[in-house]
Amino acid sequence: MMGGLQPGFGAIGYDLAHLLGGAVLVLSFALLYQRRLTAVINIYAMQSWVLAAAAAWQGWVQSSAELYVAALIALGVKGLAIPLALHRIVRRLHIHRAVETALGIFPSMAVGVALVALAIMVVLPTTMQTQVLTREDLSLALSVVLLGHLMMITRRTALTQVIGFMSIENGLILGAVGVQGMPLVVELSVAVLVMVGAVVFGVFFFRIRENFQSLDDSHLDQVGGAHR
Amino acid sequence: MTSLIGLATLLLHVALMLALAPLLVGFIRTIKARVLGRVGPPVVQPWRDLLRLARKQPVVAENASWLFHAAPAAGFAATLAAAALVPGFALGMTTAPLADLLVIAGLLALARCLLALAGLDIGTAFGGIGASREMTFAAFAEPAMMLVIFTLGLLMGTTNLDAIALVLREVTVGLRVSLGLALVAIVAVAIAENSRLPVDNPASHLELTMVHEAMVLEYSGRHLALIEATAALKLLLWMTLIATIFAPFGTATPESGPLVWLFALPLWAVKVGALAVVLALFESAIAKMRVFRVPEFLGIAVLLGLLAAVFLFVSQGIA
């Protein structure tokens, strides 16, 4: 249900949702921009908080209990637990603190901008019929997803890739909570979290440093196709 | 009536072919001797040789198989059958319906293969050399022969020699480029088939230069006699063939009756004799060519045959 707010510019519901969504996007850019691992983790945590805020706000707007739960989960797990775990991993495994980039910072920013443009271009015509709210949120969410993906492929170290993956997942949740009365939001966010958890667990369990075999180009070049 | 005449013609023809073949060889030798300024043997010498050889008991290698014993007679029989198909002085023999040019070529090929096998049977080097070269030359002679047959077949609408001869005799096809080229081609083929100069030297007794002779080196006595007779018969056969196709005038037909034979027989003798003289002069004029030049020689014959057929297409759109 619409929670008695009329969509469109000037509506407080719209503005704030838009603002929060925009904040998430900006934080994704920040993730792309950062060069230090710890900072990357912190920014990811920040992004999760903003996401939680967005979810809570949507919960208030749509006055649905589920979204509050989703917000709590986002805050608790992704805003606190996982970042702490990651910091721990960094300390435990003595992971090199600097981020190795495959694509330079500025070029990746430029590509990111292009991706956002693409996202808007794709989403705009699709949402003529649906609520403005959804339209904006959707394009933001898609941008966040694409940026996360970009981060995964432009950063060499496993941990940054994991964080990129998790920011993708943040984008997904952002899109999900933005949708009017989408059922099973909680279940879905939990499911996604399981995935994320599995990945983080994987990093921790498999002792994946930046020089884990399968993540190191030089290694795989010898273990080329001919040997498979 | 005509069937009786046909039979009579056939018998006379076969008898004459058998009788005259050695004489033809002797005649050619005499001419060649005269051209070279020698007196040379008498014309009947080949007959004498044949009979002498026939009386001798053959000496056969121990490891000879039955094929070695049978080959000369079988080859002679095949050649004789072919000879019985080629009309000489008169058309319309009993065998006329069978006288297909392809069949004649086939029978000659049969005789050749038999001799080649016999040449390989003892397992000597020279027999092998002769057989291998004989078959190689044949491989190049066949296409030329086939193209000549092709041309004649296209021109006459059949490959039956008797019919072709009849048409050529009755209808004046006029002087055709095709026929001229075909004549040259078939002469080349005939030279190769009869292992005459420049492809092979029948008089040579230096093994390395022999082709046909090398093949039969192991033969003696009556076997050798049969082989010599076969060679002679084959030569006469080819000359008759050429004469029948390219100089068809004056041959008797079943209708014309036996009296015409009085003209036809000498005429045939004259034609063959003329060809023999030409051959003799030609042979005494040139030398034997290297074995590996022969394919080129025959290849030219093939091309001429091809040209003959093509000219035919150009001159008359076959439809």
Partner: protein, 492 residues
């Protein structure tokens, strides 16, 4: 509160027949995670799988449309197929794993994990097939993926860990795409079906599809196609598949190449139905065909340089999955029938092949082609079964894949004749490579044995599979043919 009512309704559904098909494996999984005795675990595993299969066989007579579960012919067929593979693999793995344990490659704890994860995987696969709502399907596929990742990593070799990590990341990304697609699909459905569960239920989407906002539907399609295409191992999203097949325990390769691929293609097929129904949406066929054709060509050429048996057959799986996807992309009842038949028969055949390969690997103590050769000479039964399996995969008569490939080519000529050229090229190159490996595996001088020779019992599942493939391909009973035809005609 209606939420509660829905939950209760779902619970009630779980204990109807279709629900049990799902519940039995999952419950068994829970039970198995406490069973430490390997032998008992194996027996329980096999028994539960059999029970699931028997229950699944009753599905065609139980068409249901609930809030949680949806049983329509296609889903029922897929469920039967998956549970059958599950059953025969469970029986196969009973003594396969025993050998592994005696060889000391797996300790009891791992064995417990193995059995529990096997049932978890099976259960979620079945749930994905039978679930009536899109997120449900998505969630169960994700769960199944995680389960399979853990199983693949079970042999703690570096290669296995690497493979499972690769699978985790790539499938994770794929899953996230699928999630986004699911959200978009919901968004597309909301205007028509209103917000709430109906907008997410497979049973209601097709009817409403024509009215969906086309653009949103397209976007949803793109994301879901790529997301589930990753699971189906379609090129270029296939990177995880060869490694997972090669490094995981063999029964897992058998199940992986069987089920997860089918489920993914099953979802893609449903999506195609939605887009076909919508007049202004993009044509779904071309993208699916493009991915399928790319898979066929790339995989068939990749077969040649392979040195690892299991990786080799993983690529052949990719090729066959490409053929099926291509057929589904073609559209039309005929092509759908062909694709469905191909999918079914290939699943059965490939499972049989992997079972034989697993045996051969245990026997020869290595999974390189250089280790395995001349099987026919000393182990005739194993060699013959493997040879027959490879012949079947290569699409030679008398086995069923010949008929299905014949039908696919026929349908291609009918729809888009010029596409026959690349497809046939791929099939020839692939078949040739298979023949090459058939010769090198089964014939020639035998390589030394380093392990125990399998008894003929171990081959019975493979024989059953091949027999079924033979019958379905050449002498399909009228009823079954009608059932297939009905599915194809009703298929979205």
């Amino acid at each position: 509160m209606n939420e509660l009512r829905i939950i209760i309704g779902m619970l009630r559904e779980l204990f109807s027949l279709p629900g049990l098909v799902v519940v039995v494996p999952l419950a068994t999984a829970a039970w198995l995670s406490f069973v430490t005795d390997a032998r008992r675990g194996a027996w329980i595993n096999a028994g539960a799988a059999t029970l699931a299969f028997l229950l699944a066989c009753a599905l065609p007579w139980e068409p249901t449309t609930g809030t949680l579960l949806l049983v329509e012919p296609l889903a029922a067929h897929m469920a039967i197929l998956t549970s059958f593979i599950g059953m025969s693999t469970a029986w196969f793995s009973r003594d396969y794993i025993a050998v592994e344990a005696t060889e000391g490659r797996l300790d009891p704890m791992r064995l417990r994990d193995y059995h529990a994860l096997f049932q978890t995987y099976l259960g979620f696969m079945l749930l994905a097939l039978l679930s009536n709502n899109v997120p449900g399907t998505w969630g169960s596929i994700e769960a199944a993926t995680i389960a399979s990742v853990l199983v693949v990593g079970l042999p703690r070799t570096a290669a296995a860990v690497e493979a499972s990590w690769k699978q985790l990341l790539i499938c994770g990304v794929g899953i996230s795409m699928a999630f986004f697609g699911t959200t978009l699909l919901y968004l597309a459905a909301v205007p028509v079906l209103g917000s709430g569960l109906p907008a997410m239920s497979w049973s209601q989407l097709p009817a409403a599809a024509p009215a969906f906002p086309a653009a949103m539907l397209n976007l949803a399609f793109v994301f879901m196609l790529l997301g589930y295409g990753t699971k189906a191992g379609l090129v270029p999203l296939h990177a995880w598949m060869p490694d997972a097949h090669a490094e995981g325990p063999t029964p897992v390769s058998a199940v992986l190449s069987g089920s997860i691929l089918n489920v993914a293609l099953f979802v893609i097929l449903r999506l195609r139905g939605l887009l076909d129904a919508n007049p202004d949406a993009i044509a779904p066929g071309p993208p699916i065909m493009a991915l399928g054709l790319a898979s066929v060509l790339l995989a068939s050429f990749s077969l040649w340089p392979r040195r690892d048996v299991k990786r080799f057959f993983a690529f052949s799986t990719i090729e066959q999955s490409g053929v099926a996807a291509f057929a589904f992309g073609l559209g039309g009842a005929a092509a759908t029938f062909a694709g469905l038949l191909h999918l079914t028969l290939h699943t059965l055949t490939k499972a049989a092949v992997f079972q034989c390969v697993g045996r051969a690997v245990q026997l020869k103590g290595g999974q390189n082609f250089t280790d395995i050769g001349g099987l026919l000479v000393r182990h005739r039964a194993l060699g013959l079964t493997l040879a027959a399996g490879i012949v079947a995969v290569a699409g030679l008569p008398p086995f069923g894949l010949f008929a299905s490939e014949f039908l696919v080519l026929l349908a291609t000529v009918r729809e888009l004749p010029w596409l026959v050229a690349p497809l046939a090229l791929g099939l020839v190159v692939g078949g040739w490579a298979l023949a090459m490996r058939l010769i090198s595996l089964c014939l020639g001088p035998p390589t030394p044995d380093r392990g125990a020779a399998p008894g003929w019992i171990a081959l019975v599942p493979a024989w059953v599979h091949l027999a079924v493939v033979l019958v379905l391909g050449l002498a399909m009973p009228g009823r079954v043919a009608a059932w297939f035809a009905a599915i194809a005609e009703a298929a979205p």
